[in-house]
């Protein structure tokens, strides 16, 4: 890693941790309904919302009611989003006159946005109308994030409460998360992004003249759009000189703010944050990068605050930061080192005053290898999935890091809410083994971990890898699945593995290279997203309910301390080991063998 890369990494983590503390405490106050800074302004709005919805914020729910409310809410969200896409052709705010979206893609996209995955099998500016983007996708960007945070808050209450039967009110938690956290932060970030030149307009597109006309050869099309063939049946080509281009525009900044903050990741434009209208300047790049991990990181401290032991929050944040830093270092180093095959051919990949060096395939020149690799790790550590470079074009190890971060289960920062509750499931497992090793019935934050918690935590840890492995197996075993890969050999396998890792863990980033908008992938990936999200959320709520009902054992010298570096190390080890044992064989057949092949060829 170069010095510049190290500075970027340290600066990034520094800013992140500095912002996490105040935001974490603020969120705790918001969820606990305690007085806080935005209370006087937004309090009346909150109460108004409850009044029109007929919700009593202090109507406490047990975990089953809470889960039911959550499921119902998401199911209605899914139906609305599906309908909106299917009908968009006849609805207003469609300046580009885009047709309605097909059933399989609508299904996939609806699940994708409701599950906070934002896997996009389509290219945004060519498929979704402004209405669908704003009323459908952007709304789910907020609500899927808020519902993830609500489930987390319910779990935290489970730890904090003693001998209680309830875990909070889902409606109130969703409203508070949206109103007090997501909206204000998005508002600030959107304004900052507009100031950097991110598009925010209702005009569909702009026709501009090219600075330099380009001449291209393209197949000749007849009036019906079919290829014209000559007498021998070969396509006829013609030479065209292009003098202008159409720039797609739209209300991007407001979408991007929440896509980053809510670990959604679904870009307004197809190439996501590599697009100059989504991410024009180094500052906008940095702000978006910080926004990816800001809420997931701060929620750790919200957790510490709500269980009245801030050290616990810091310990989990530390474990996340350690894993992130390690993967980022590998990724940045790998991309910076470049491709040995190109080096063998005499390409200069060393960083210099005029170039960033390293592996530049699939990367924006504005960002270079370091910012791209840093983004790739952050976006896959969190279940964000926005990209500023094409992960498919990374070096094998550079591509392995994002893939592995997703396979870890999106618990390193992870999705807003979902990352921390997933991590807490790992904490339960780590505490269980460690607790036995010190000769006591395992307990965390004074709550004894019994077989019920173990069962549920096992589900949380088990379901995502199961969907990833089974989905990948199904895809490589069927012609429909194999047909989608762009590259032959091990890299093709990596593309499929990446897609299911992304969907099953609700990340949403794409490796590219896989043609995913086919009925097969739309459906299987849709199912993977569904299971990955809800089959973890429900067991988490069950844990919340069971923990809330327990008594709290005061800590003593015989209690395993869960805020020490030793425990942080144990947690990191558990997370890594579980993922490694699950995915090592698959990774060996994908990126690992690609890497070894590359080294062998470069020799």
């Amino acid at each position: 890693m170069t010095a510049a890369a190290a500075v970027q990494l340290v600066l990034y983590l520094g800013v992140l941790l500095a912002l996490a503390k105040p935001l974490g405490i603020y969120m705790a106050r918001a969820y606990e309904g305690r007085p806080m800074i935005l209370g006087p302004v937004l309090g009346p709005v909150e109460r108004f919302l409850y009044r029109i919805a007929g919700v009593k914020a202090d109507d406490e729910m047990d975990w089953k009611r809470y889960a039911l409310a959550m499921l119902l809410f998401n199911f209605v969200g899914f139906l609305l989003l599906y309908a909106l896409q299917r009908l968009q052709g006849g609805l207003p705010l469609n300046p580009a006159r885009l047709p309605s979206v097909g059933p399989d893609l609508s299904f996939n996209t609806a699940i994708s946005f409701v599950t906070n995955t934002n896997w996009q099998s389509y290219s945004g500016e060519q498929t979704m109308s402004d209405l669908t983007q704003m009323l459908g996708l952007a709304v789910q960007n907020f609500l899927s994030a808020a519902s993830g945070m609500a489930v987390l808050v319910a779990l935290v209450r489970g730890f904090a409460r003693r001998s209680a039967s309830t875990v909070g009110n889902f409606w109130a938690d969703t409203v508070r998360g949206t109103l007090y956290v997501l909206l204000p932060l998005s508002f600030i970030l959107a304004l900052a992004l507009v100031s950097q030149g991110v598009a925010q307009t209702f005009s569909a597109s702009k026709r501009v003249a090219l600075v330099e006309p380009v001449t291209v050869t393209s197949p000749k099309l007849d009036a019906a759009g079919a290829q014209v063939k000559d007498a021998q049946g070969n396509p006829v080509t013609e030479t065209v000189t292009v003098t202008g281009q159409t720039l797609a525009l739209g209300p991007a900044a407001s979408q991007i703010a929440i896509k980053q903050l809510g670990t959604n990741g679904g870009g307004f434009f197809n190439v996501n944050s590599a697009h100059p209208f989504e991410n024009p300047t180094p500052l906008s790049g940095f702000l978006e990068l910080v926004a990816i991990l800001l809420i997931p990181g701060a929620l750790c401290l919200t957790f510490g605050e709500m269980v009245r032991d801030r050290r616990q929050g810091w310990a989990i944040l530390a474990a996340m930061a350690v894993i992130l830093a390690a993967f980022a270092a590998v990724d940045v180093a790998s991309e910076q080192r470049g491709n040995p095959l190109l080096a063998k051919l005499g390409a200069d990949q060393r960083p210099s005053a005029t170039q960033g060096g390293g592996n530049m395939e699939g990367k924006e020149v504005r960002f270079g290898p370091v910012a791209s690799a840093l983004w790739a790790t952050a976006t896959t550590a969190a279940s964000n999935g926005s990209v500023n470079a094409m992960h498919d074009s990374f070096t094998p190890l550079g591509g392995l890091a994002p893939m592995a971060l997703m396979q870890i289960g999106e618990v390193v920062f992870g999705g807003v809410g979902s990352g921390l509750y997933g991590m807490l499931a790992f904490v339960i497992v780590a505490v269980f083994i460690a607790g036995l090793m010190v000769g006591r019935t395992p307990e965390y934050l004074g709550k004894k971990i019994g077989s019920f918690e173990m069962k549920m935590a096992s589900l949380v840890i088990l379901v995502p890898p199961a969907t990833v492995l089974l989905g990948t197996a199904l895809a490589v075993a069927t012609a429909a699945g194999r047909g989608g890969t762009l590259n032959p050999g091990a890299h093709g396998f990596s593309e499929i593995l990446y897609a299911f890792s992304s969907a099953g863990n609700n990340n949403g980033s794409a490796f590219a290279g896989l043609s995913a908008n086919t009925p097969f992938y739309d459906f299987t990936l849709g199912l993977a997203m569904f299971f990955g999200r809800f089959w973890t959320k429900i067991p988490i709520l069950a844990i919340a309910g069971s923990l809330a009902a327990k008594k709290m054992t005061p800590a003593g010298a015989g209690t395993l301390a869960t805020h020490t570096p030793l425990f942080v190390g144990l947690l990191v080890g558990t997370v890594i080991l579980v993922a490694a044992l699950t995915f090592l064989p698959a990774l060996a057949l994908g990126p690992i063998v690609e890497h070894l092949q590359m080294l062998a060829m470069a020799r």
Partner: protein, 690 residues
């Protein structure tokens, strides 16, 4: 004690022989299905056997010899796990047999009326029910558990306790419980039977040591769930390798798809067979260690709870202090020689058979060479202690020598025209403040001085409490003494807290309070008035010498009736949990090396570059798979002694324990298989077996 003798022999040939036979019997799928990890192993073993048969008929996917070897070692893995369980059970079974021999068919003397002297009829002991009353004469064996309602006798309880010295059993009080199978040596007892046939203490004890009705404990269940989840993860990881490998072969255009035999081998290597195979052995061995400590637990749950205890309630007398208070000093009044005081105090105590009285006689002899005298020889009359006078003493040659509580003696002296001097008053106050009990001695109207009675704290107990503190366990002393005395003894013994002037209700209240605060409470008790508190406590050790009510309220019985045993019980509980945790860590950490052995072996033909992962440089793909499977089977055998003995417990804090166990079993588990697999591979290729 028979049980302790057996403990020394970990692998007695008879037990080993029986265990080998048992390990085959346990292959019954109905038994295996209780342990998901080993059940999967058995299923996979059957599968590979089938594959071997197929290979013999020339339709095999892999060479028949290789499939056979894998199959055999997978069967060994299952058998080794069964062997571990059978070994743990075997030790209990041997003890149970000895106990069963003592439970012979007896003829009880069934009394028509519940009193001595009424007529009796012979009734077989198995027909006795709760509430029946029987007569047990000298030489008879007590036909069933019960309560003595009449009589006093010496009883030989060596069958149960292994202690050959007879004990006294009598009606009323705290020594009224008798156990079926014990023998009355002298006199007679009338016993009301309190246990239904088949539910006697001896039956329970046999069931316990045999592990027959062993129910899985909460932590064991939780751990089994985790192990099952891991098994599913590995099942998925291995099963999906088949399509992955087919795809890889197609993509690379070379090599062979991975065989089911190798996948089966990989699966068994990955699933946590080490801990899965040893799990029930660890549980049984934990119970066994309790039995060796001469403690009978009514359930495995109780043993496990012992490890979680964070408050110990300890009776002062007998646990913290030696028996009773003892005289430790004579403080004479002004103008009185110490020897005169000692002489009078001794005189007043000669006929006093209480431990306090005897200790005064002894102290006088030790300090002043005053020999004990025969009261009747002196022509003295003994005035015994009564609750009204709160004094005792002798009348001798017109002298009235008394010892007693300060105010009682002051009253006695005033009646005779004397008075208590200020110096004596000061001494009394000072002694009371220091936690001692002052006894004032008077001869008629003349006050001679004060005898200091003190509780003697057991040697080494302070250190034990300090150890407990580092383990995170709080000690609370329970005493009937006043708070002042209690505080002084508590400070001397180094307990964390005390409950003075304790009544049974106060004890119960304290336990409830602690439990509401989320603490787990352990206590010992022997009296009937301890029963409510024993029933409430999470871990309740009843003394075998105690009453039937106490024994029934508790969830453990200490056959040695040693209250300090509670500390040992806690350690055994902790050891049980630690052994499980440590072997789980070891088992999972092992998998890393197995991947490095098997993955390159599986795919090196398809992707030669994956040979780089063969960091152990194993000879051939076949030897790599074989070595991993053999290591996986042998490690179970190698760890049986550890599973039976338990991981060593040290009274240090949780952090230090975790660090140590992570280092030994985590890091050790990571490294050991690399060494082991390499060694087996070298051996296999040296012997040209692969």
């Amino acid at each position: 004690m028979p049980s302790r003798v057996q403990a020394l022999k970990l692998a007695e040939p008879a037990i080993v022989r029986r265990a080998i036979a048992e390990s085959f019997k346990k292959l019954d799928p109905r038994h295996m299905v209780r342990n998901p990890v080993m059940f999967v192993t058995e299923v996979v073993s059957v599968l590979t056997t089938f594959l071997f048969v197929q290979a013999l008929r020339g339709q095999g996917e892999a060479p028949a010899g290789f499939t056979l070897a894998i199959s055999v070692w997978l069967w060994f893995t299952v058998l080794f796990a069964n062997f571990a369980e059978a070994m743990a059970e075997g030790r209990g079974k041997a003890q149970a047999d000895a106990l069963r021999r003592s439970r012979q068919e007896l003829v009880a003397k069934f009394l028509s009326e519940p009193r001595h002297g009424s007529g009796w009829a012979p009734v077989p002991s198995r027909m006795l029910h709760s509430g029946d009353v029987v007569l047990v004469d000298a030489g008879d064996i007590v036909p069933g558990d019960g309560e003595v309602i009449e009589g006093i006798a010496s009883v030989d309880e060596s069958v149960i306790t292994g202690e050959s010295a007879p004990v006294i059993r009598e009606s009323g009080g705290d020594r009224s419980a008798v156990t079926g199978g014990t023998r009355v040596l002298s006199d007679w007892l009338v016993v009301r039977i309190s246990a239904e046939p088949g539910e006697t203490f001896l039956d329970r004890m046999i069931g316990m040591v045999e592990g027959a009705k062993r129910q899985r404990t909460p932590n064991e269940i939780a751990l089994s769930i985790l192990l099952a989840a891991l098994t599913i993860v590995f099942l998925l990881a291995v099963a999906t390798l088949l399509p992955f490998s087919l795809y890889a072969v197609k993509a690379a255009g070379q090599g062979q798809p991975v065989t089911v035999t190798v996948l089966a081998a990989l699966l068994v290597c990955l699933i946590p067979t080490t801990i899965g195979g040893l799990l029930s052995a660890i549980g049984i061995a934990g119970m066994d260690r309790m039995v060796q400590a001469n403690v009978i637990a009514t359930s495995g749950r109780a043993v496990e709870a012992a490890g979680d205890v964070d408050v110990l309630l300890l009776d002062k007398t007998g646990t913290i202090t030696l028996g009773n208070r003892q005289a430790t000093a004579f403080v004479p009044a002004r103008g009185v020689a110490e020897e005169e005081l000692a002489d009078a105090a001794q005189l007043a105590s000669l006929a006093d058979e209480t431990p306090e009285g005897r200790s005064i006689v002894v102290l006088a002899k030790e300090k002043h060479g005053l020999r004990g005298r025969e009261v009747h020889g002196l022509g003295a009359t003994f005035v015994p202690f009564s609750a009204q006078t709160r004094m005792s003493g002798v009348n001798l040659d017109g002298r009235e020598v008394r010892k007693g509580a300060a105010d009682a003696v002051a009253e006695f002296v005033r009646e005779r025209g004397g008075s208590v001097g200020d110096d004596v008053r000061e001494t009394v106050d000072a002694l009371a403040k220091s936690g001692a009990t002052p006894l004032v001695v008077a001869d008629g109207p003349r006050v001679l001085g004060v005898v200091q009675l003190k509780d003697i704290v057991k040697g080494g107990i302070r250190e034990r409490f300090a150890e407990l503190r580092t383990m995170g366990i709080k000690t609370v002393m329970i005493t009937g003494d006043n708070p002042l005395t209690a505080a002084a003894i508590a400070a001397e013994a180094g307990v964390d807290d005390f409950l003075a002037e304790a009544t049974p209700e106060a004890k119960l209240r304290l336990i409830r309070e602690l439990q509401t605060g989320g603490r787990l409470v352990a206590m010992t008790g022997d009296g009937t008035n301890d029963a409510p508190a024993l029933a409430q406590a999470d871990v309740a050790v009843a003394m075998n010498s105690g009453t039937q009510a106490a024994k029934e309220a508790g969830n453990m019985v200490d056959l040695d009736s040693n209250p300090t045993k509670l500390l040992e019980v806690v350690e055994i509980g902790k050891q049980l949990l630690m052994t499980r945790g440590s072997l789980t860590t070891f088992s999972i950490a092992n998998d890393v090396a197995k991947y490095f052995a098997i993955i390159p072996a599986m795919f090196v033909a398809t992707y030669p570059q994956l040979g780089a992962l063969n960091v152990m440089r194993l000879t051939t793909p076949a030897s790599a798979v074989m070595s991993a499977v053999i290591f996986n089977a042998l490690i179970i055998i190698a760890l049986i002694p550890l599973a039976l003995r338990g991981v060593e417990y040290r009274p240090v804090g949780a952090a230090a324990l975790l660090r140590r166990n992570l280092l030994v079993y985590g890091l050790g588990g990571l490294v050991a298989p690399f060494v082991g697999i390499k060694a087996i591979d070298l051996l296999l290729s040296a012997l040209h077996l692969v």
